[in-house]
């Protein structure tokens, strides 16, 4: 992906320019203006909501275009943030079409509802639209085949599309896609019922190790991220935001700031009000000729803040509050039998409490956006997971119709959920309007760590009853964490979505179960972070099952398998819930299947030689979790180094994610998930005092470094032709509990609070 550069001095927001960018304008149409100048300049795809569609070539739908010269253009409408979506979705479309990837150009889709949902989160890009994207390719194929069949006066059934051409099976006559495109464009686009998907065996790239589309650009420094956009006359803004979410500027003096060479202006932004939604936090923007001047100007600001409602928030005190909350009954969200009675008559009771802190996303690329407001339009380039929300939020903030707002999506230097929230995009738009020039908003690392939509902090109390034989006969769990809903309303109870991430859908072969959702009010902006509530749910549940094993004196793997129960499909009735949210997908297609969970556990413990661990003197920990419709089990090995510090030595991760599109990127995601899980398990912690975040940069918000990464991460993917599950997130939840369980195996110290660094030497 490349970006407009200084050569694109007079880009106009014309249909022509966007068509040019898509490569959809053929010569000879008699339109003037040729833009942009760089042959590979791409990020100006046509907003598909525009009614005008180029007359030449086949555009069967918003995703795929076949030009008369044979070039196929495929739009990737989801954001690339490292999960490999640009190296996966377009190949799936091309496979259905029968296109040769050597002649396919992938372009990044703008934010536009015509693509359907573009919010790149929830590990949804394959699992939710696998069939839709196949139909996009298959529809174009059906039209090309129809033209070839008509020319040859044969039935379409006698034709096949492959290698960028249509072949007549009987006579081996061939027509290239390009030769068919113009006539195919004259056909009526067939209804879905008239389009047949290929049998899986004909999807020749499906499940293979596919090339990394942007790899060559990345290693040469040519890939374009949010802050890399440069427009003529652009200025840069760095913003001093209220340290407390919901706070505001009390008074300020910008004299020293305005004296900094290169500083142009100080602009006060409106304060945010509750609920925070995707509003910018307000504050003072220092607009300057370049980033360094803006940073120096901000440092020179004399500003006094008013704290607002959240100014007394103290995360350590809040931790104690949550512990009190889970000491009392909450709303029962899951009930089977009578857990209270079963506990009362249990031979043995085991009880434990688990805590997890707030976390920051800290993508390597801090938030950044460029906006140009002019002539009643706003054009934006941004590192965003959610370009449609960016579009609607910008439109709302500027009082503009959304059709006047264009959002171009750059590569994302990491997202992890942070970049689903377009507050920083709105900042750029407001500032461009205020100064009448294109504005780049650059968040510093301190801004990123201090003004995040934080992963929630949690407390959970678990209690189990064992009968005389040691069988687990009762399970009681209370859960409290400020919900994501608090960012969008005055919610103080977690919603089904968050409870559906490892609580409502947790298979347990236990006759009496009660789970309670306890009230927790938020005092900062809460957001979703890679794998979301699964992080604390899996940490509590998978740690507790390991504790039960030790209480019972049985092997942790055997105990886990026993508690999860035999191979079966678990229904909402079995679970004792009205409904399983199931990540927005049907239980018919994606049931809660313990066969699959058991299989990943058995597989991972086999690979890690679990049964030989004692003879080998190894300290291993195990955890398994279903999330985003994918089943993952992890084994972590820990050792003590010469300084008695605990180090993670090796890790194994096994996933059953159903059908895989790009095996290579799936493996990469699982490797990365292990490191992400280790970062939050070992070090991750955001603390808040007087309503403000204490940590500020990687010095105190610590992430795993290369030497803290296992020397080997073994990834194994279960072969499957089942419905695809999520990939980006499901690897994360089992990592921290597997780590904590390994630490217990090594040291006998039970870690019930994340990060581990609070309890043990790491």
């Amino acid at each position: 992906m490349s970006a407009p550069n200084k050569q694109d001095v007079h880009i106009r927001l014309s249909r022509r320019s966007v068509l040019e960018g898509l490569g959809l304008v053929a010569a000879g149409l008699g339109l003037e203006v040729v833009l942009p100048s760089r042959a590979d300049a791409s990020p100006m795809p046509m907003p598909t909501s525009l009614p005008e569609i180029p007359a030449n070539g086949l555009r069967a739908n918003v995703f795929v275009h076949v030009a008369p010269d044979g070039r196929v253009t495929i739009v990737c409408h989801r954001s690339e943030m490292g999960q490999g979506v640009r190296s996966s979705l377009p190949v799936l479309i091309a496979d259905e079409l029968g296109a040769d990837m050597a002649h396919v150009k992938v372009v990044q889709g703008d934010g536009d509802a015509a693509y359907g949902d573009q919010n790149t989160d929830g590990s949804s890009s394959v699992r939710k639209i696998f069939d839709d994207l196949r139909y996009a390719g298959a529809t174009a194929r059906t039209m090309l085949v129809a033209v070839a069949a008509k020319r040859w006066k044969v039935s379409p059934a006698e034709c096949e599309a492959r290698d960028h051409a249509v072949f007549h099976k009987g006579t081996q006559r061939v027509l290239k896609f390009g030769e068919l495109a113009t006539d195919a464009a004259k056909l009526k686009v067939p209804e879905k019922q008239a389009v047949t998907l290929r049998p899986r065996s004909e999807l020749k790239h499906l499940g293979k190790e596919l090339p990394l589309l942007d790899g060559p650009d990345i290693v040469r420094g040519h890939a374009t991220f949010g802050a890399d956009i440069s427009l003529p006359f652009m200025v840069t803004a760095v913003i001093a935001r209220p340290p407390v979410a919901g706070g505001k500027v009390a008074r300020y003096d910008a004299t020293k700031t305005l004296a900094v060479p290169g500083v142009l202006k100080v602009v006060e932004l409106p304060a945010a009000t509750k609920p925070f939604l995707f509003q910018p936090l307000g504050g003072l923007a220092v607009v300057a000729e370049h980033t360094w001047a803006a940073m120096r100007g901000r440092a020179a600001l004399d500003v006094t803040w008013e704290g607002g409602d959240n100014a007394t928030y103290d995360s350590e005190a809040y931790r104690e509050q949550l512990l009190e909350v889970i000491g009392k009954p909450g709303k029962v969200v899951r009930n089977v039998g009578d857990a209270e009675a079963a506990l009362a008559k249990a031979a043995k009771r085991v009880q434990a409490t688990y805590n997890t802190p707030h976390l920051a996303h800290a993508p390597m690329e801090p938030p950044a956006a460029v906006a140009r407001v002019e002539h009643g339009t706003c054009e934006v380039w941004a590192t965003t997971q959610n370009p449609q929300a960016a579009r609607s939020e910008v439109a709302k903030a500027l009082g503009m119709d959304p059709s006047k707002v264009m959002i171009h999506v750059t590569l994302l230097g990491g997202g992890f959920g942070r970049k689903s929230k377009p507050d920083y995009v709105v900042e750029a738009a407001l500032l461009s309007k205020a100064v009448g020039k294109p504005v780049r908003v650059q968040w510093t690392r301190e801004d990123d760590v201090r003004h995040d939509y934080y992963h929630s902090t949690s407390a959970q109390r678990l209690e189990a009853g064992l009968d005389a034989s040691g069988k687990v006969v009762a399970w009681h769990q209370r859960i409290a964490f400020p919900p994501i809903g608090s960012t969008f309303s005055d919610a103080t109870f977690a919603g089904d979505g968050e409870m559906g991430q490892g609580i409502l859908d947790l298979p347990l072969a236990i006759p009496d179960i009660r789970m309670e959702n306890c009230e927790a009010r938020a005092h900062t902006r809460i957001g979703w972070l890679r794998s979301v509530a699964n992080i604390y749910h899996a940490f509590a549940v998978q740690s507790f099952i390991d504790e039960l094993a030790h209480a019972k004196g049985t092997d942790p793997r055997d105990t886990l398998l026993e508690v999860l129960g035999p191979s079966r499909i678990v229904t909402p009735k079995d679970l004792g819930v009205a409904k399983v949210p199931n990540y927005g997908q049907s239980l018919d297609e994606h049931p809660v299947d313990t066969t699959r969970l058991r299989r990943v556990i058995e597989r991972v413990t086999g690979l890690a030689r679990w049964d030989e661990r004692k003879q080998q003197g190894r300290a291993l920990g195990l955890a398994a979790h279903r999330s985003f419709l994918t089943y993952v089990a992890v084994v972590v090995s820990v050792v003590k180094d010469a300084n008695e510090h605990i180090r993670v030595d090796e890790a194994w991760i096994v996933a059953d994610a159903g059908t895989i599109v790009n095996m290579e990127r799936v493996r990469a995601q699982m490797e990365g998930a292990v490191v992400f899980g280790l970062s939050l398990g070992l070090y991750g912690q955001i603390t808040m005092k007087d309503g403000a975040t204490v940590e500020s940069n990687f010095r105190d918000y610590r992430l795993a470094r290369i030497a803290e990464t296992p020397r080997k991460i073994h990834v194994d993917i279960i072969p499957s032709d089942g419905r695809p599950g999520g990939i980006g997130e499901p690897g994360v939840p089992p990592v921290a509990p597997a780590l904590a369980n390994a630490v217990f195996a090594l040291t006998g110290t039970r870690v019930r609070e994340l990060p581990l660094v609070k309890t043990v030497k790491v």
């Binding site: 550069n5 943030m81 290693v219 040469r220 802050a227 993508p363 690392r445 470094r705």
Partner: protein
């Protein structure tokens, strides 16, 4: 004040505050955006470039320190992506989001220039200052070894 420096073989005279970090001079004044801002405090390594062949953190290096010297950024490491590290990085599909990788590659390039056959410990030590939030570290290690012609276990 004018600062004269060579970047990727091209001489530039920059009219710039000599205290401006080299990072921002490269990114904002020369539009060489391959070098990334990640922390501004020499904590993450996304901004690593070479000055006279040595890896430096450009986010904390005043541009005056590069005066009269040779600066190399990721864009100048090879004309066509053919540096052994760049090739190994592509072959092993190291990048995920890609944001930190220029800094990782530039750090590794300075290591290999000094130590063509580094040990595992030397690789870890050399790259200890380079964060990757996507967690590509195991592949980074493998790619450095591959570029160095070392067996990967």
């Amino acid at each position: 004040m004018s600062i004269r420096l060579r970047v990727n073989g091209t001489q530039h005279d920059l009219d710039v505050d000599p205290e401006m970090p080299l990072l921002w001079a490269l990114r904002d004044l020369l539009t060489l955006t391959g070098t990334k801002y990640g922390c501004g405090q020499a904590l993450c390594g996304a901004c690593v470039v070479h000055i006279d062949g040595a890896a430096v953190r450009s986010c904390v290096t005043p541009v005056r320190r590069a005066e009269g010297r040779d600066v190399m950024t990721i864009e100048g490491l090879s004309p066509d992506g053919s540096h052994p590290l760049q090739k190994a990085w592509v072959e092993l599909a190291v990048p995920q989001c890609g944001f930190c990788q220029a800094g990782q590659i530039m750090t590794a390039a300075a290591l290999l220039a000094k130590k063509p056959k580094p040990t595992d410990a030397e690789i870890d030590q050399s790259l200890a200052g380079n964060l990757c939030r996507c967690g590509t570290y195991t592949r980074i290690r493998s790619a450095v070894k591959k570029a160095a012609g070392l067996p990967n276990e």
